[in-house]
Symmetry: C2
Subunit: 196 residues, 2 copies
């Protein structure tokens, strides 16, 4: 279960990555300098290199963590035997939760991944493509079982992912996390649309 974790010692590299995520989100990967990150940690820039190899490694830590979280969740969802509509709903809700709880990491992964070094960029794109393909599979299966309308599964998945990725105003609703009416409203909108 991804929710129950043995708390382990947070490495200094991870502490740096947390601060870097905040600054990368606010200013962008290239615009946030190593000196900015060092300042935020009250150390000098060269000291960072005792804990990390280079700037790109910070971006890698962030993007990999996010990809892993989504991968873990998807695996859990796939293994449960539920209607595909329920699976899709759970995935949508997970995306929303990630936006609330892990905003900086998710935002950086969503908007700064192009700055990954070539090899990691490739891995990232492959993993993302794989994730999409597995969602498409759920939609295809749902259409077959007449849970969903007949539509182009790829378009459906990309539209939903696109909507979820862009919904950065989640943040404002953090306080309302409890009553979940906001989350429910998005889920409803994505699953059943707006038209009568």
């Amino acid at each position: 279960m991804s929710k129950i974790k043995t708390t382990r010692k947070t490495s200094t590299a991870e502490v740096i990555a947390e601060k870097a995520a905040l600054l990368f989100r606010q200013k962008g990967y290239n615009e946030a300098s190593m000196r900015n990150i060092a300042d935020a940690l009250n150390i000098e820039a060269p000291s960072l290199y005792n804990h990390i190899k280079n700037k790109a490694e910070l971006l890698q830590i962030i993007c990999k963590k996010v990809a892993q979280d989504f991968e873990d969740n998807l695996l859990e969802v796939e293994q449960d035997s539920q209607p595909n509509s329920k699976k899709l709903e759970r995935i949508i809700r997970f995306h929303i939760k990630m936006s609330m709880r892990n905003f900086d990491f998710l935002h950086v992964s969503n908007h700064q991944w192009k700055s990954l070094p070539p090899d990691e960029l490739n891995q990232f794109l492959i993993a993302r493509k794989k994730y999409e393909t597995r969602l498409v599979q759920i939609v295809k299966d749902g259409i077959l079982k007449k849970e969903f309308k007949i539509l182009q599964p790829q378009v459906a998945v990309l539209t939903i992912l696109s909507a979820l990725r862009g919904l950065e105003f989640y943040q404002k609703y953090k306080k309302h996390t409890r009553d979940r009416s906001f989350e429910n409203s998005i889920v409803k909108q994505l699953l059943t649309g707006i038209a009568k």
Copy 2:
């Protein structure tokens, strides 16, 4: 009518902005240097400054053009007396068309606006907020007239705009522009959802 225009001489600044838009999209605003832009135009970087004030002006030209196009279209849509569902559909189709025909400009406006100078950034955000508010008004009116389901108009609008903004894979479908099945599929998805 926004579609019929008297063809006027394209200024050198606009030619530069076109090339800048391509590079800003590919590399990002800060990552695409004035030297990159100059190279692409087969001139030296300092020569650019005979036609534009500075780098930021290029970004302004791009973002303002996009904002103006959407503003023009929205005004046209608002003035027609049609069901709100039809209005919303027209707006969605316009966003998709912009993605196809004006990809670089739209992409830069969507992803690089944070690099606008403070004053222009403010104007940009105000204009965007205004645009959203007018869409919300259409949805509100549609709910009143029972064209739409009862839902939170703001969430509906932001979800739709978010989906449209992120759908960058439009590009791949440029060839299929004619049969419009792709466009229709997105419209259907956004208006009526996926669930049966």
